[in-house]
C-alpha cells in the first residue's frame, strides 16, 4: 500500500478551466507496493487530465489484468472503469470506442498483459488506429504473479529467483511504429516532466496514441540488464523471506533532452535512458524505427515523443461512423419499420 496524499486539501487549491481541483481527479487509495513505478504513472495521468481540463466523467478507463491493470482504480474516481480479462483490453477498448466515439479513452496495461498474452490484440489495435491513449506500465516482469520475466525483459536480465532471461526483449514502441501507430512515445515512470506532457499530447491526439512507460517493479525488480549489479545485492535479498516486501521509495529522475541518464533500480541494476534531443524529427516513421532499434542495440532506451502523424484517419473515420454516438441512437434511427420489412418479404418470394 502506498503513502497516499490525504483526500482533504486546502480550500484554495488551484483549479483548472473547468473549475475542478486536482482532488476531482483522485481515485481510490492505491493497493500497490510502496514505491511502485505504477503509482507515479497514476499520478501523472491524474495531473495530465487535470491540467488539460478534461471532464473526469467524459473519460473511460479500460485495463486488462495485472498490478498495472489495477491502476485505473487509483485515479479518476469519477470516471467509469473496466478491469477486463488478461491481455484482451484492446478488444474491449475497441468495442467501447465504437459504442461512444465522444468519450476520451485511456487504456492501461502491463508488459505481460500487452506483450505476452495480449500481443495479437495489441498489434491489431494499432492497425485499426482506435482513438485512445494506450499506456503500458513496463516493468519487464509479471508483478501480480510474483515476478516471472515478461516478454519485454531484456536479454540477460535476472529474475528474483535468479533465473537469467535468455530471450531477446520485445520492444513495444518499435512494434507500434512498424504497424503504423500515429503517435508513439516512451518515457520513465519517475520522469514527471517528460511523462505528463506526453500523456496530455497523447490524449489530445486524434487516433491511436501509444506510450511505453518504463516503470520499475520495486518488489521483483528484475527489470533490466546488469546481472553483476544484481548479484551485489543478492545475499542481502536472500535473507528476506519470500513474502517480505520492503517499503521502498519510488525512483524519480530529471534530465535534459539530448542526454543519456543512467538510472539505478531498486535491485542495484542500471538502465540507460536516452532522451531524444529537441531537434529530433518525430515525423518520419522509418527513421524513428531506426533510431529506436539502433538505441536498443547500444543498450540504451530512447525516450520522448518518437513519432507523430497528426492527420491520420482513426477507426470511426475508416468505418465512416455517424457523428452521433451509436449508443445514443434510438428506435427511429435504428429500426426500419414494417414497410421496409414487407419489401424484404417481397424479395423473398
Amino acid at each position: 500500500m502506498s503513502y497516499v496524499k490525504p483526500k482533504f486539501r486546502h480550500p484554495n487549491l488551484p483549479v483548472n478551466t473547468l473549475g475542478h481541483t486536482i482532488a476531482d481527479y483522485d481515485g481510490a487509495i492505491s493497493t500497490l507496493c510502496a514505491g511502485c513505478g505504477h503509482d507515479s504513472i497514476s499520478a501523472a495521468i491524474k495531473n495530465a487530465c487535470f491540467l488539460s481540463s478534461i471532464p473526469p466523467h467524459r473519460i473511460a478507463k479500460v485495463s486488462g489484468i495485472g498490478c498495472s491493470s489495477k491502476m485505473p482504480t487509483y485515479f479518476l474516481g469519477k470516471s467509469h472503469g473496466f478491469n477486463s480479462v488478461h491481455g484482451r483490453m484492446p478488444s474491449v477498448a475497441t468495442g467501447a470506442s465504437l459504442a461512444n466515439r465522444d468519450l476520451t479513452y485511456i487504456g492501461v496495461s502491463g508488459d505481460g498483459d500487452t506483450a505476452s498474452i495480449g500481443m495479437g490484440q495489441f498489434v491489431h489495435l494499432v492497425r485499426r488506429n482506435v482513438n485512445m491513449t494506450y499506456i503500458v506500465a513496463n516493468n519487464g516482469c509479471y508483478g501480480l504473479t510474483k515476478g516471472q520475466d515478461s516478454a519485454t525483459a531484456d536479454l540477460g536480465s535476472v529474475a528474483k529467483g535468479g533465473a537469467v532471461n535468455e530471450f531477446d526483449g520485445i520492444d513495444l514502441a518499435s512494434l507500434a511504429l512498424l504497424q503504423g501507430a500515429s503517435f508513439v512515445a516512451r518515457s520513465f515512470s519517475g520522469d514527471k516532466d517528460q511523462l505528463e506532457p506526453l500523456i496530455r499530447a497523447a490524449m489530445a491526439h486524434k487516433g491511436f496514441a501509444f506510450i511505453d512507460v518504463v516503470s520499475p517493479c520495486v518488489t521483483f525488480n528484475n527489470h533490466a540488464g546488469s546481472t553483476k549489479s544484481y548479484a551485489e545485492t543478492r545475499d542481502h535479498l536472500d535473507m528476506m523471506p519470500l513474502d517480505f516486501v520492503p517499503m521502498r521509495e519510488e525512483i524519480r529522475t530529471h534530465y535534459p533532452p539530448g542526454t543519456t541518464q543512467g538510472i539505478t533500480l531498486h535491485d542495484g541494476s542500471v538502465i540507460h535512458l536516452h532522451k531524444a534531443s529537441n531537434d529530433y524529427q518525430a515525423d518520419d516513421r522509418i527513421a524513428a524505427l531506426n533510431a529506436v532499434q539502433q538505441a536498443k542495440e547500444d543498450e540504451r532506451i530512447l525516450t520522448g515523443l518518437l513519432y507523430l502523424d497528426p492527420n491520420t484517419q482513426d477507426l470511426t473515420q475508416t468505418l465512416n461512423l455517424a457523428t452521433r454516438p451509436l449508443n445514443e441512437l434510438g428506435d427511429e434511427e435504428l429500426c426500419p419499420g414494417s414497410r421496409v420489412l414487407n419489401s424484404v418479404n417481397e424479395g423473398l418470394r
Binding site: 467509469h80 478491469n83 484482451r88 478488444s91 468495442g95 467501447a96 465504437l98 461512444n100 423473398l348 418470394r349
Partner: protein
C-alpha cells in the same frame, strides 16, 4: 430406358437429390429448381450438403417436396440426379426401390452401376453442352441448367416460372438470360422427346394437392442467417464484431448488406452501425463486451471453435453482468472436424460456458421467422437481464432456404434497454449501488460511462466486489453476489420465450395406455412433427413440446410430469439437452429417453419414428435408462 417393376408414385410428395462437384455452380442451378417449386406454391425445402473445400470435392443438394408442408428431412431419395463420377456408385445405392436415377450418358454407365428396382434416365449433358456452347466455362456452368430443364419435364414443373426466375436472376444481362433459357429448353426438349413425361412422382398446382394452411399464407423462402441478420437490424444492433467461420459467416455478410440499405444516416450519409472483422473470436467477443459495457447493442456470430475461444469472456460477462448477444450457428466437431455439417452439439458448452459457476441464457430458433424474432428479443433480453444471450442456430437452419411465413413487424415495438439510470435518474436515486438488488428480482441498476459529472461512476470487474461495486474479497460479499445471480436467472425464466405445444394428436384406438411426450428444439422440430404423425397413424399418440429457451419455463417440467415417457430428440451424441433438462429441472434422467442423430446431416422423420418405435416395442421405457424410476 430400362423400366423397373413398380415405380414410386406421388403428387407433390417426394425427395430429389442432386450429386455434383463442388465449385461447378451446381448449387445455384439446384436452387433455381427448388425456387421454381416454391413459386408453384408447393411446400419445398432444399438442403445444400457441401464439403469443407472450395472446388472439386463431392457436393449434394437435397430437395424435399411435401404437400403437407413438412420441411424437415424425410429420409430416403426418390429421384437422384447424379453427374459426379466420384460419388455415382454411392448415389445409386441411395435411391429408394422403385426410384429414379438421372445421369449424364455422354459416356455409357459403368456396367456395375446397375439396379433392377430403379428407373434410369440418361441425358447426354456434356455432349449437348459441348455442341451448343463455346467457352468451357459456359459448357461447365450451363450443364447444370440443362438438367434443371430436364427435371422440369420429368416432374411437370411450370416452365414459365423457371424462365421468370432466370430473368430475375440475371436482370439486365440479356446475353446470359437467353443462354440460360436456351439451356433449360435443351434439357426439357431432350427428355420430352426421349422419355414419357411426367413421371409418377410429379408436381401439381392447386388447392386439392397442397395443404390449405400453406396456400393461404404468403410464404417466403429464406435462410436462417439472413433472418438473423435482419433481426439484428430491427433489434437495434449497432456494433457487430466477428471472425469468419462457416456456417456463421453469412450472418454478418447479410447484416452488412441490409445495414448498407437501412442504416445510413440520411443527412450525412454516414453509418449508424459499425462492423469490425476482428483478428479472432476472443477479440470479437471482447469488442462486443466492451460495446455492451458502453451502452451499445452489440453482437457477434460464430460457431463451435469460436464458442470455445469466447468462453473466458462469456464468464466475465456473466459475473460482471454485461449485455452481449452471441449467435452460435452450430456445426460438427472441432476445427478439423466436419465444419460444413450440421449438429446441435454445443448445448452444454453454451449453457455452462466458462470455468466457475456460470449459467448462460440460450435461445433455440426453429425457423427463419424465429431467427428473426428471437434475435430481436435477444437484444432486449441481454439488456434487461444484463447478461450474455446466446442464440443457438445451426448450419441446417442458418444456411439452407426454408419456406416460412413472412416476417412481421409491430411498429409500436420499442427497444427495452433494461434498468439503466440516466443523469436524471441518478440525481433522483437515493444511495444508488450498482449491485444493490432493490427490486428483488436479482437485476440491479446500471449506469453508462459519461452519463453524469459526479454520480454513478463505478469500476466494472468480475466477482471481487460488494453491492456498492467497491473492491472486496470478502466471502460474504461473493456469496451474496452470486446468489443474486441465481435469483436473476430465476427471473429470466419469465422473460425468455415460452415453449410451444400443439393440440394432442387424435388416435382412434391407441396401442398404449402410457402418456407419451416428445421434447425437442431447433431444427429437430419439423422432422419430429412428421414423425409424430407417422406414429399416430400407427396408433401411438405423442404429445409434443418444443423448447425455445434456457432457463426452462416451468411448463417444461409440468409437461414431463404429465407424461409417463418423454422422448428428447436432438442432434448430438451425448444427449446434451436431455442432460440439461435433467440437471436444471431436477428430473430423473431415466424418464427422458434420448432420440439422437449426429451424423452431420440433419435428422430425418423416418429415423426419429423408428427410434421411438423401437423404444415403444421394448417393454417399458426403463430399459433405456440405467436406473429404474423407482430408484
Amino acid at each position: 430406358m430400362k423400366q423397373s417393376a413398380k415405380q414410386i408414385q406421388g403428387i407433390n410428395d417426394f425427395v430429389v437429390k442432386f450429386a455434383n462437384v463442388n465449385g461447378t455452380g451446381s448449387a445455384s442451378a439446384n436452387h433455381l429448381f427448388a425456387k421454381a417449386i416454391f413459386r408453384m406454391g408447393i411446400p419445398v425445402s432444399p438442403r445444400n450438403i457441401f464439403p469443407s473445400n472450395i472446388q472439386g470435392l463431392p457436393t449434394w443438394y437435397e430437395v424435399r417436396v411435401s404437400k403437407n408442408g413438412y420441411l424437415g428431412r424425410r429420409g430416403g431419395v426418390d429421384l437422384m440426379l447424379s453427374v459426379n463420377p466420384q460419388s455415382m456408385e454411392q448415389d445409386l445405392r441411395g435411391v429408394e426401390p422403385g426410384g429414379y436415377f438421372v445421369y449424364d450418358n455422354t459416356k455409357p454407365l459403368a456396367p456395375h452401376l446397375r439396379r433392377d428396382d430403379v428407373s434410369f434416365f440418361g441425358i447426354p449433358l456434356t455432349e449437348m453442352c459441348m455442341r451448343e456452347f463455346e467457352t468451357p466455362r459456359l459448357q461447365q456452368l450451363l450443364k447444370n441448367v440443362v438438367y434443371v430443364g430436364a427435371l422440369a419435364a420429368l416432374l411437370n414443373m411450370k416452365f414459365t416460372i423457371l424462365k421468370d426466375l432466370v430473368a430475375d436472376q440475371f436482370k439486365g444481362k440479356e446475353k446470359l438470360i437467353s443462354s440460360n433459357v436456351h439451356a433449360l429448353e435443351m434439357g426439357y426438349q431432350y427428355v420430352t422427346e426421349n422419355y414419357d413425361c411426367p413421371l409418377p412422382i410429379r408436381l401439381e398446382m392447386g388447392e386439392d394437392v397442397v395443404a390449405p394452411h400453406i396456400l393461404e399464407s404468403e410464404h417466403i423462402l429464406m435462410n436462417g442467417n439472413t433472418a438473423t441478420a435482419l433481426g439484428a437490424i430491427y433489434g437495434g444492433a449497432t456494433v457487430a464484431a466477428w471472425y469468419p467461420i462457416t456456417p456463421s459467416t453469412s450472418v454478418v455478410d447479410a447484416f452488412d448488406k441490409y445495414a448498407q440499405r437501412m442504416r445510413i444516416d440520411p443527412g450525412s450519409g454516414k453509418k449508424n452501425y459499425a462492423i469490425v472483422q476482428a483478428e479472432d473470436e476472443l477479440a470479437a467477443m471482447g469488442m462486443v463486451v466492451g460495446a455492451g459495457w458502453n451502452g451499445a447493442r452489440a453482437f457477434t456470430a460464430t460457431s463451435g471453435p469460436g464458442l470455445s475461444l469466447m468462453s473466458e469472456f462469456l464468464g466475465l460477462a456473466y459475473f460482471a453482468e454485461l449485455p452481449a448477444v452471441l449467435i452460435n450457428v452450430q456445426r460438427s466437431g472441432p476445427s478439423t472436424g466436419m465444419p460444413t455439417r450440421s449438429q446441435q452439439s454445443d448445448v452444454l458448452a453454451a449453457a455452462y460456458a466458462s470455468h466457475g459457476d456460470t449459467k448462460q441464457v440460450l435461445l433455440f430458433p426453429a425457423t427463419p421467422r424465429e431467427c428473426f424474432d428471437m434475435t430481436v428479443q435477444a437484444f432486449d433480453l441481454a439488456e434487461q437481464l444484463q447478461t450474455p444471450v446466446i442464440m443457438m442456430s445451426d448450419l441446417d437452419l442458418g444456411m439452407n432456404d426454408w419456406m416460412s411465413p413472412p416476417l412481421e413487424w409491430d411498429d409500436n415495438y420499442r427497444m427495452n434497454r433494461g434498468k439503466v439510470l440516466d443523469a436524471k435518474g441518478l440525481d433522483e436515486a437515493t444511495n444508488w449501488g450498482r449491485y444493490l438488488d432493490v427490486d428483488g428480482d436479482g437485476i440491479c441498476y446500471r449506469t453508462l460511462p459519461g452519463t453524469h459529472p459526479d454520480k454513478g461512476a463505478f469500476f466494472t470487474r468480475g466477482s471481487s466486489k460488494n453491492e456498492m461495486a467497491v473492491y472486496s474479497e470478502s466471502g460474504a460479499d461473493y456469496v451474496k453476489n452470486v446468489d443474486r445471480l441465481l435469483r436473476k436467472f430465476e427471473t429470466a425464466k419469465s422473460y425468455v420465450p415460452k415453449p410451444k405445444t400443439h393440440p394432442p394428436v387424435k388416435v382412434k384406438k391407441p396401442k398404449t395406455k402410457q402418456k407419451l411426450g416428445a421434447l425437442f428444439f431447433g431444427t429437430s422440430a419439423s422432422p419430429c412433427y412428421e414423425a409424430v404423425e407417422m406414429l399416430a397413424a400407427e396408433g401411438y399418440p405423442i404429445d409434443t413440446m418444443r423448447i425455445r429457451a434456457f432457463p426452462f419455463h416451468d411448463s417444461v417440467d409440468e409437461f414431463i410430469h404429465a407424461h409417463d415417457r418423454v422422448f428428447v430428440v436432438e442432434q448430438n451424441r451425448d444427449g446434451q439437452m436431455r442432460r440439461l433438462i435433467s440437471n436444471e429441472c431436477e428430473i430423473p434422467p431415466g424418464k427422458l429417453i434420448p432420440v439422437l442423430n449426429y451424423s452431420g446431416t440433419p435428422i430425418t422423420a423416418r429415423n426419429i419414428a423408428s427410434q421411438i418405435r423401437d423404444n415403444l416395442n421394448t417393454k417399458g421405457a426403463e430399459v433405456v435408462a440405467l436406473h429404474p424410476e423407482k430408484a
